[in-house]
Symmetry: C2
C-alpha cells in the first residue's frame, strides 16, 4: 500500500532530520506535539526552539483524511468527495544571519468518490532564503537537488527549479523570497511515469534534505555577527512573513480549513522587524542580496 | 466642491495629528515622503519613527484618481469607469506595552461613467489594540466615539461599533484584533442624509482622533515595563501583522493595485515575535487580555 509506505517514510525522514539538527545544535529544545484532526487523522509537530544555532523551527508530519473541505472542493473541482493527505513540512530559522532559512515539504494526496480512488498525486520541494548569501552555498544546494532530480528524469530539475522560482515570489515587492530550489505539485502517474517512479522520486527529495542543507548551516553557524547584521536578518525575515501570509496557498488554505493555526504558523520567524522604506546602502554586503535573488542557472 | 473641502480637511487633520504626537514625544523623528501615483494623483506620508514613546507609526494622505483598477471594477461592479479617492490613514505603535496601538482612517470616494458622477460614498473609523488593557482607557475611547456619533445620529455608534467588531477579527484564531471602536463604509447620501451631513460626520470622526487617543498614550507612556512585558507586546503585535496581511481588505487591495507597498505596509509593527503555541499563564495579567477582547457594550 502506497499510503502506508509513504507514511513510514515521512516518519523516518522526520526522525532523521530532527536527529541531524540535534547534532548541529545539541542545545536546541525539541517540543513534540501530537494532535488529532476532528474530521479524521492527525499529526505530529516537532518544534525546535531556543537553540544555540537554531532560533526556531519545526518539522511537522500530518496524516489526515475525511470529507473534502468545501474550499478544496472548489479548487479540485470535486464535489462530495473524500480525501487522504499525508506529508512532512519543515521550516528552520537559524539564529546566525549568515546561515540561510530553509523550507522543505513532500506530500501525497488521494481523492475518492463513493469510496473509490479517483485521483492521486505527489507534491513537494525545498528552497533556501539567505540574508548574506554565499554563492558556494547556493551552488551546493542546487547541485544536490539537480543530482537527485537527474537520477529520475533529466527534465525534472529545470522544470521544478522554474516552478520554484515562480512560486516563491513576493509580487507586491517584485522580489523573489530566496534563491529557489525545486517545487513540484500534482505529479500524477501516467504511461511514462509509474506511481512507483513518482513515489521514489518524492521520497528521494525528502532524503536529499539533510545533504542539501546541513553542510550549509554547519559552515555558517559560528560566523561572528554584529547587531546591524542581525537587524538586516530580521528585516528580511519580514519578507518571509509577507510571502507566507499574503501569497502562500498552503498557508492560507490551511488557515481556512484545518484549525491547526499553530502548526501552520510555526513557519513564521521568531523575531522580525519592519522599518519604513528600508534600503541597504549602495554597494554594501546587504545590497548584494538583491542581485543573488534574481533567478539564475546555478548549475 | 466636496472633494476640495475633504482634501483641505484631511490635510489639516494630518498636520494637527502629527503636531499632537510631537507634543507627546518631542524626540520622535518625522520623515515626510511625497509621492506621485503613475495613474493619477499622489500622496504625502508622514512617518513617525524612533521616538522615546512612539516606536513607529505613520499618518498618510492619499488623493488619487484615474481609470478604475480591474480589481476594483469587480468589487464595485463598475466596468470602464473612472474614480477619485482621497483619505487619511494612521497607525501608531507605541514603544510602551502599556500604551495601546491605534489605527484610524477616513476616506471619500467618487465613481464616474463617461465623466459623469454616478456614485460617491464616505468611509472610516478607528480602533484600539491594547496589550495590557486598562478598562478606563477602553471606556474613554468608546465614550469619545459615542458622543461624536450621537451628535449626528443616535443609531450610528451602535451600528458602527458592531461593524468594527465584525471587521477587526482574526478568524483563524477566533480572536478580535483589539477592543474595537467604530468602522463605517459606503455611507451614501439619501433622502434622510444629505451629503453635507455625511461629510460633516466623517470629518468629525477625524477630528475626534486626538481626543480619543492622545490622553491614553499620555497616561501610559511612562509606565515602567520589563523585558517579559515587552515580549508579550511583540507576540501580540504578531496578531496585528496576521490580521493586516491575511484579512484586511484595504491592505490586500492596496498591494494588488497601487504599487505603494511601503506606504501600505507602514502599518506593520517595528518589532514582532512569533513563538510556537504561546499561551500566557492562567490568571496572569497577560491572560486577562483575552477577556477584554471579547466585544462588549463599553458605554
Amino acid at each position: 500500500m502506497i499510503k502506508e509506505k509513504f507514511e513510514e517514510n515521512i516518519k523516518r525522514i522526520q526522525n532523521q532530520i530532527v536527529s541531524a539538527f540535534q547534532l548541529v545544535d545539541p542545545e536546541v529544545k525539541i517540543i513534540e506535539d501530537n494532535w488529532d484532526r476532528p474530521g479524521g487523522g492527525g499529526g505530529c509537530s516537532k518544534i525546535l526552539t531556543k537553540g544555540k544555532y537554531i532560533e526556531k523551527g519545526g518539522v511537522n508530519i500530518s496524516i489526515v483524511n475525511g470529507v473534502l473541505p468545501i474550499e478544496m472542493q472548489e479548487r479540485l473541482n470535486a464535489i462530495s468527495a473524500s480525501f487522504y493527505a499525508s506529508g512532512i513540512s519543515l521550516v528552520i530559522h537559524p539564529l546566525n544571519p549568515f546561515a540561510p532559512t530553509v523550507h522543505f515539504n513532500i506530500r501525497y494526496f488521494e481523492l475518492y468518490k463513493d469510496s473509490k480512488l479517483v485521483d492521486s498525486w505527489f507534491g513537494g520541494g525545498m528552497d533556501l532564503t539567505p540574508f548574506y548569501p554565499f554563492v558556494e552555498d547556493v551552488i551546493h544546494f542546487h547541485t544536490v537537488l539537480k543530482n537527485d532530480c537527474d537520477r529520475f528524469d533529466k527534465t525534472y530539475y529545470s522544470d521544478f527549479k522554474n516552478q520554484c522560482d515562480s512560486y516563491f515570489y513576493n509580487a507586491h515587492r517584485n522580489e523573489h523570497r530566496g534563491i529557489g530550489g525545486v517545487f513540484f505539485d500534482y505529479l500524477k502517474p501516467s504511461k511514462e511515469k509509474s506511481i512507483e517512479h513518482l513515489f521514489d522520486f518524492t521520497i528521494s527529495i525528502g532524503d536529499s534534505f539533510i545533504q542539501a542543507y546541513i553542510p550549509i548551516i554547519e559552515k555558517r553557524k559560528d560566523i561572528i555577527f554584529n547587531d546591524s547584521q542581525r537587524e538586516w536578518q530580521e528585516i528580511r525575515r519580514g519578507r518571509y512573513v509577507e510571502f507566507n501570509l499574503i501569497h502562500d496557498r498552503g498557508t492560507l488554505f490551511g488557515l481556512k480549513t484545518s484549525g491547526r493555526t499553530e502548526s501552520i504558523l510555526m513557519s513564521l520567524p521568531p523575531r522580525v522587524r519592519w522599518e519604513y522604506n528600508h534600503h541597504p546602502e549602495f554597494g554594501s554586503e546587504e545590497e548584494k542580496l538583491f542581485e543573488i535573488l534574481k533567478p539564475k542557472q546555478w548549475v
